[in-house]
Amino acid sequence: MSNAIVLEQVRKRFSIRHESSRTWQGMALALLGRRQIEHEEFWALARVDLTVKQGETVGIIGPNGSGKTTILKMLAGTISPTSGKIKLGGKVFGLLELGAGMHPDLTGRENVFLNGSFLGIGRAEMRRRYKGIVEFAELERFIDTPVRHYSSGMFMRLGFAIAISLDPDILLIDEVLAVGDARFTAKCYDALAEIKQRGKTIVFVSHDPIQVRRFCDRVVWIDAGKVRAEGNPRDVIQDYLAHMRGSGHVASQVARNEVTELGTGEVQIRAAIARDVETGSERYAYLPGNSSRLELELDSSGYVEDVVVGFAVRRSDGLLIHETSTATTIGPTDLQPGRTRVECELGPLPLGPGSYKVSLGVWPSADRMRPFHIWPNAMNFFVGKAAAGLRGVTVIPARWRVSTAAVEDELQVAGDPIVQPDMITEAAGPFWTLPPEELIMGLRDDEWLGEGWFPAEDWPPHIRWTAPRAVAYVRQDVGQGALVLSACRPLHGRGTTRASVTVNGRHIATVPVHGMDFEDIVIPLDPVISPETHELVIEVEDPLVPADIGLDTDTRPLGLAVRSIRVE
C-alpha cells in the first residue's frame, strides 16, 4: 500500500514578535532579507517523522501546545514547515474549525459551492453532490439563510457534510465533532466509518482518548513537538494516560487553554490538584471505590463575604455525574484578601471505568447566576476497571440476600406505591457552561431546568409537565432568534390554556395553547450580539388538577406538557 502522508524531518519555528518590532524599519529590514528583528522563537515542532499509509486512520493525541494542530495545519497547507519535507498523496481537506471557509453573509447553498471550489471541484460536480450535503446536514429549511444566523451546531453540521461529500483522499479532523448533539455526532462517526471503508485516509486530532481509541487504527502521541510514541491505539493511549496522571498539571493546562472561562473575576481559582487520600501524592487515576482529595487555591482581590465553592464532575461525553458545593454542605465562607486553600474529600467514587472531567467554580451565595469564576474542565481523571464483573456507568452499593424460608409468601405491596416523584423545586445554577440551544425533555435536560418541572414522563417521546410556574435556561447564539416551545395542554378540561412567557424578567408573550396534540409555539426573540443565556419563565393561570375533575388520583397542578424548548 502506498503512503498517503510522509513527513520527513519536519521542523517548525514560530517567532513571537513583540509589538515594538512592528515598525516600518523592521519591515524594511525584513524585505531586504536581513532578519534582525528582535523576537522570541520557539520550536512548535522539534523534528517530526511520520508516515501514514493510504487508507489508514491515524489519531494524534497530546497535550495542548504539543504541536498537534501545527501538524494538521501543515498537512492542510495553511502554514509551511521551517525545514523538512511534506509529501501528500492526494487531495487534502481539513475540517479544522467550525465554519472555516464559510462566508457569514452568504447562504448555506452559496457556501457549499464556494467550499467545493477550494478543493477544485467544479460547479456541475457540486450540483450533483449538493442534495446529499443538505440532506446529511439536515438543513433543508435553512439552506437559503445566510450562515451568520446559524447556530454552532448548524455550522458544524454543514461543515461536516461538505467535508465528507467533497470526497478528499485525505481528511483532517480537528476536535470539531465535540459540538454537535449526541445523535448527530453518532451520525458523523457512521459517515467517517464509511469513508474509512472506502479506503480514504483520515487524520484525527482529539483530546479525548476514548474517542481516539474507538476510531483509529494507529495513534501517534506528540509531546513537545516530537513524536513520543506511536503504535496501536490501546498501548499508546495507555502510556499517554499514565503519563498524564503522572503530571496532573499538564491536564489542567490543557483545560485552561481550550475552554472559555466565565465570571466576574473578583475571586479566581488559581490552581487545582487531586491527591491520593492516604499518601497525599498527586493522583489522577483511580479504581471504582477509591477516594480522592481535591485541593483548590483561590485568590481573592479583597475581603469577600459569603463565597460558595463548588465543582461538577462530568463524563468525557459531557454527561453531568455529580455537582456539589459548600452551599449545600458546610455553608458559604468569607474570604480574606489573598490566597485561600479549599479541600474536598471526595469518595468513595461510585464511578465506572472511563475518563472524567471536573469543572470548578466560585460564586456569591446570593447570586449564583453571576459567578466569580467558572473554570470548565479544569481537571481530568480516569477510572480504571476494578473487577472483571463490573460494568456500567456507576457503582451502586448492593447487598444481596437469598432466603428460602418463606417462599410461600408472595411479593406484596406494603402501603401505597410511590408513583408521584416530587417536582424540581430547587433553583438552577451555577452553570458550568452555556446552556444548549435545545432542551429535549427527559434527555439531559435537568441541568438547565429551574424550579417548577415535574419528572420526565414517557408519553412517547418524553415530556415534562410544568407546574403553574416553571423556569428553564436556554442559549441564544449570535443574531436573530425565535423561541420554539413544543407543548400541549392537559388532555381534559377546558379548550384553551393561556401561557405567559417571560424571558430574562421581561414578559414577551402570552400564547394560547389549544391542542391536545403537540404544537410548535414560536415566539420571536430580540437579536443578541454574543451567545446569551436566557432565563425563561412559563406561567399558566389555571393549572389543571386531574383529581379535581375526578379523572385520576393525580393531585398535581399541571400547566403544560412540554416536549422541547429550543432557540432557532
Binding site: F14, R22, W24, M27, A30, L31, K73, A76, G77, T78, I79, S80, V92, G94, L96, E97, G99, A100, G101, H103, D105, L106, E110, F113, L114, S117, F118, G120, I121, G122, R123, P146
Partner: protein, 280 residues
C-alpha cells in the same frame, strides 16, 4: 557568484511559472470568490448595483455644483461627462485598492484554515471591482451618446487602457494586501494617500489649470504624468471618451511602471504570503 545568480534567476522563473500554473488550476475558485465579493458587496442594500451608478452620479453633482456653479473656474464644456469619464475609473482604483488591501486581513479565518493560492483573495477583490467598473462605465457611455459623446475609433483603445489600468491596480493591490498583514497602519496611510492622490490627479479639473512652468528641465505637466500613472490613465480615458483622441505618449511610461509594479508586487506578496497564516 555569477553562476549562482543565473541559477537563482532560473529558479525564480521556474517558481513563477509554477505559481502561474497553480493559479490557472483555481479558475473555478477565482470565479466563485469574485461572485462572492459582488454578492456580499450589495447584500442587504436596497439599490444593490445601483450604488455603483449612483455614487459617481452624486459625486458628479457635487463637483459640478462646486466647480462650475459656485466657484467660477474656467467653464468646461459638458463638464458632467468630462468629470465622469475620469471619475469612474478613479473610483475603480480607489475601491479596488481598498478592498484588495483588506482582502487578506478580513479573510483571516479562511487563510488559517484552508489552503489555496493567497493571490486569489486580492485578485478576486480587484476583479470584482473591475466588473463593477466595466458595468458602470458601459452604462455611462450609453447615457452619454445622446449628449454628443461620440462613438469614435479611439474608443477601440479603451479595452487596452482598461487592461493597463487593471495591471497597474493589481500590482499595487498585491503589494498593499501583503504589507497590510504585517503593518496594520497601512490602512490608515492608504486612506489619506488616496485622498491626496485624488486631488493630485486631473479628475475634476483639466490639466490646463496646472501652471506650465519648468522644473529640472522638464515641464510640470510631464512630471505629473511621469510620477503619477493615474494621471496618464484618466487622461487616456477622457481623451478616448470625450474627444476621440488617441492615448498620450506618456502611456508608454505607465505601461512600464504597471508591469514593473505587478512583478514587484507579486514577488513581495509571494514572499510574505508564506507566513500569513501565522501573522493573522
Amino acid at each position: 557568484m555569477a553562476a549562482n545568480a543565473v541559477k537563482g534567476r532560473a529558479n525564480d522563473a521556474r517558481r513563477f511559472l509554477g505559481s502561474v500554473r497553480e493559479l490557472s488550476g483555481y479558475s473555478d475558485l477565482l470565479r466563485n470568490l469574485v461572485v462572492r465579493d459582488l454578492k456580499v458587496r450589495y447584500r442587504g442594500s436596497v439599490l444593490g448595483f445601483g450604488w455603483s451608478l449612483l455614487n459617481p452620479l452624486l459625486m458628479m453633482a457635487v463637483f459640478t455644483l462646486v466647480f462650475q456653479v459656485l466657484a467660477k473656474t474656467d467653464p468646461i464644456e459638458r463638464y458632467p461627462f468630462f468629470l465622469l469619464a475620469a471619475l469612474v475609473p478613479w473610483l475603480f482604483t480607489q475601491q479596488a485598492l481598498t478592498s484588495a488591501m483588506r482582502s487578506i486581513t478580513s479573510n483571516a479565518q479562511l487563510i488559517k484554515k484552508v489552503y489555496f493560492p493567497r493571490e486569489l483573495l486580492p485578485l478576486s477583490a480587484i476583479l470584482a471591482s473591475f466588473v463593477n467598473f466595466l458595468l458602470a462605465y458601459g452604462v455611462f457611455w450609453l447615457v452619454a451618446i445622446p449628449f454628443g459623446v461620440g462613438v469614435t475609433g479611439a474608443m477601440l483603445f479603451l479595452p487596452a487602457i482598461m487592461l493597463l489600468h487593471l495591471v497597474f491596480v493589481l500590482g499595487l493591490g498585491l503589494l498593499l494586501a501583503a504589507v497590510n498583514v504585517y503593518f496594520r497602519d497601512t490602512e490608515h496611510i492608504v486612506e489619506v494617500g488616496l485622498l491626496a492622490w485624488f486631488f493630485l490627479t486631473p479628475i475634476f479639473y483639466a490639466m490646463s489649470i496646472v501652471p506650465n512652468s519648468t522644473v529640472l528641465g522638464l515641464d510640470v505637466h510631464r512630471w505629473v504624468f511621469i510620477l503619477n500613472p493615474m494621471a496618464t490613465l484618466v487622461t487616456d480615458y477622457r481623451y478616448a471618451f470625450m474627444w476621440g483622441f488617441l492615448p498620450i505618449r506618456h502611456t508608454l511610461i505607465t505601461i512600464v511602471a504597471a508591469v514593473v509594479l505587478l512583478g514587484l508586487g507579486w514577488s513581495i506578496f509571494r514572499r510574505l504570503s508564506n507566513r500569513f497564516a501565522e501573522e493573522l
